[in-house]
Symmetry: C2
Subunit: 273 residues, 2 copies
């Protein structure tokens, strides 16, 4: 099965464009999990079991595991293994925002695709497509390139004009016309910038976009969905992290996460009609 089909199949099966960001910062976990040997994994396991019928994919962010050192990386691997074994139909994106020169990227593909075994990884564009070849040449995996990020200061480097157009548009064109030869690219565009999202959608045809920034970051769901859907009323992976996984810090955290995920799924679907 084509790896992109895995994403669309899961969207269809769960009727969902919701991606849950497993940003399981060890300092923010419910206090009753402190006694666990692997608190980040214990937390993720409950979140996953409670939401597996509501998502189109999961997206752990490597930073929150690395912050916990080797013990955190181990729990990230346990999380990925758990999803792959119990819910093999659900794709996993590693949010790692990596990129280095070519031979070093071989180290990062070993981390993401071999060790963790995820389906997709987020990547920085600054070194160019030649450096990203170890990712772009993998047609069994998805390369998700940062295009217009969701943070307030994104414009400083991304809106700079190149031949009269913003730099992120220059990049989106490059990805569509040159980097996506194996049809294995997606782009990141933040929900906090619906106008920019609409511009990118117009440019890239039906390419799937990873859209962070709803929930805690304040991106508007209706505007994002209307701006970002493709011709099949899909083509978006809409991520919420803190707004779902930390909806409660009590014993009911997984149940509350389910409620928030369901609410987000339904709200998104409402605007897809």
């Amino acid at each position: 099965m084509n790896v992109k089909t895995k994403f669309t199949n899961c969207m269809d099966r769960n009727n969902s464009l919701v991606c849950i960001g497993l940003d399981s910062d060890v300092k923010k976990l419910p206090s009753h999990l402190e006694k666990e040997k692997n608190p980040q994994f214990a937390f993720n396991k409950e979140i996953i079991d409670s939401t597996s019928d509501l998502v189109c994919c999961y997206k752990p962010n490597s930073a929150f595991y690395e912050a916990n050192g080797a013990r955190g990386v181990e729990q990230l691997k346990m999380t990925c293994d758990y999803i792959k074994n119990k819910y093999p139909e659900i794709p996993i994106i590693l949010d790692a925002k990596r990129a280095d020169i070519g031979n070093t990227n071989d180290g990062y593909t070993a981390y993401t695709f071999d060790y963790l075994g995820v389906d997709a990884v987020t990547l920085q564009p600054y070194l160019g497509s030649e450096a990203l070849a170890p990712f772009l040449s993998r047609k069994d995996k998805v390369a998700i390139i940062l295009c217009r990020t969701s943070n307030p200061g994104a414009g400083e480097m991304q809106d700079v004009k190149v031949d009269g157009e913003p730099y992120y548009i220059y990049l989106a064109k490059k990805v569509k016309e040159e980097w996506n030869k194996l049809d294995n690219c997606m782009l990141v565009v933040g929900a906090t910038y619906p106008e920019e999202l609409a511009k990118v959608r117009k440019l890239v045809g039906d390419m799937t976009l990873l859209v962070p920034g709803v929930g805690s970051q304040g991106g508007d769901i209706e505007q994002s969905v209307r701006a970002g859907m493709n011709s099949e009323k899909k083509g978006m992976i809409i991520n919420s992290s803190r707004g779902i996984i930390f909806a409660s810090d009590g014993l009911d955290f997984a149940q509350k996460a389910r409620q928030e995920a369901e609410k987000l799924r339904n709200e998104i679907n409402n605007y897809r009609k």
Copy 2:
């Protein structure tokens, strides 16, 4: 002591601008180390003990440890701890090329500065200075921003013209004038591009530049040194990784690494006169 003073002090003590890149890919280690419980650490330990009087700093690249999973990250930590305990005067750069939105960068500062305890980290510029605040606000640590990278395809994203000047020049100005408020920034400029290196040097005054790309990547040492030195005939951290650490794959690997490091130091110093 100011963290940048730690770099210049070590340059002066060892009369060296050489940084050894500890890109200790587990698949490339001498075969006699395979039996070691921690082969990456065992390798690094010998390289470090054999070269500690020849370098201005060490630069492990996180990718080659992550490729080995949690076990690799543990050995990266062992390596950093070893340097900090035995050679506290030698600075450590973590080559990680990280960057995410602000609250996620807190995870990466926890990884680099708290868990590993390094002095400096390499960073991607694409999300802008607002996102990089968790790094830029640390005056006890150095933020080394990718400016003109050493890879053959660097120009695709970095040479694009912004108001008639290349994008990497736009970035270099930003860093000098705005991002470097705490005087804790450095820039990465590849030795494979001496003309670009000269342009950046002209622009940033005496700011220190991390210069990868000599050795295996083919950057010319004489051209780089002449283009990149600051007014004090320093201001450069010239990195070689594979060309030094993998000079031999036999029992004599550390001795051969010493020879290569000394050769590089002397050649560089020859052009500093």
